[in-house]
């Protein structure tokens, strides 16, 4: 079987949208999957750094245990799991909105395409709003990038993820405006599909961060 053969219920459109390539795969999509593979290693290194230093902060605030500040102010565990659960679900819903938008572009359903790609951007902005709220709360409770190991590794990891989300929102809004100016035909839906791959990748990275940073408490020795 050729490497480019599809194995599931994905039908080829009648119009050829791309020139033939040596592998039979569109270069844009192949290159983007390769980029996502490299981004796995990038986020893998950040998550590994967080895991290596978890529970090793010499001073608070701590992620899962209380801390008394020098001024006597008591900070309970700083991570707000209920709020982050909602923002995690918002990001999952945005992934659903993205596949609905791609479906609209592929079937030339302009109303569906524009509505869902706009909603995807709105969900992305909502996630960023949650993250801004969370970062502000942390800062007001004494956690900053330089406060302790938890602050350094947490803000770098989630900050880079938030930057990815912000870039994704810009990309989505660019596609939305581009489609308003000149409708994107099904033969060029690969441009939307590439944006969708990026957006879903941002989503799966958050699935990992949410599980290992927020939901698994840190013991005093840094273990599980």
């Amino acid at each position: 079987m050729a490497a480019h053969a599809t194995t599931g219920p994905v039908a080829h459109a009648p119009a050829a949208a791309h020139p033939p390539t040596s592998m039979g795969l569109p270069h844009l999509k192949l290159g983007f999957w390769t980029f996502l593979g490299s981004d796995c290693l990038f986020f893998g290194s950040l998550i590994a750094t967080y895991m290596a230093y978890r529970g090793h902060s010499l001073t608070g605030p701590y992620s899962h245990s209380p801390w008394t500040a020098p001024d006597g102010h008591v900070v309970n565990h700083i991570l707000n799991v209920p709020v982050t659960s909602i923002s995690a679900f918002v990001l999952l819903v945005s992934s659903f909105a993205m596949v609905m938008a791609l479906n609209g572009f592929q079937t030339n359903n302009r109303g569906r395409a524009r509505l869902w790609i706009f909603l995807t951007a709105i969900f992305g902005l909502t996630f960023l709003g949650f993250q801004s709220f969370e970062f502000t709360e942390f800062y007001l409770n004494g956690l900053s990038l330089s406060q302790n190991l938890f602050g350094s590794t947490f803000f770098v990891l989630t900050g880079f993820h938030g930057t990815h989300v912000a870039f994704g929102v810009l990309w989505l809004l660019t596609l939305f405006v581009a489609d308003l100016r000149k409708p994107i035909p099904p033969s060029k839906a690969i441009n939307v599909e590439t944006c969708g791959l990026y957006w879903h990748f941002v989503d799966i990275v958050w699935i990992v961060i949410f599980a290992f940073v927020y939901l698994i408490p840190v013991t005093e020795k840094g273990g599980f």
């Binding site: 050829a16 290194s45 090793h56 999952l92 659903f96």
Partner: protein, 107 residues
């Protein structure tokens, strides 16, 4: 010439909705583990449960929303090989730093 533009299969939207429902339920269950005291007392079980639910969520998004289940095999290879490498690096680094005789707090 090979056509690369894909049209969605009939019933694709129904699958997307079904996957979203499963993702929602799993996220709810993950959140619930945080509030159930038994899980906080049995952290190894919590770790395994969270890992399994996270992996299922990860797999569902990659397989259905990123269409890796139905797409070309080569895409799987260029994505999964670095992914496995990242997971292995994370596990090794975490294990190496957890094996130490003197905790940092006492240095």
């Amino acid at each position: 010439m090979e056509a690369h533009a894909h049209a969605p299969a009939p019933g694709a939207v129904r699958n997307y909705i079904l996957v979203l429902c499963i993702l929602g339920v799993l996220t709810f269950l993950e959140c619930m583990t945080y509030f159930i005291p038994w899980f906080q007392e049995h952290r190894q079980v919590l770790f395994v449960a969270i890992s399994i639910m996270g992996t299922v969520k990860f797999g569902l998004v990659v397989a259905f929303y990123m269409h890796l289940r139905h797409d070309a095999v080569f895409y799987r290879e260029v994505f999964i090989i670095p992914l496995v490498l990242a997971i292995v690096i994370t596990i090794i680094v975490t294990m190496l730093t957890s094996i130490r005789l003197i905790p940092y707090q006492h240095l």
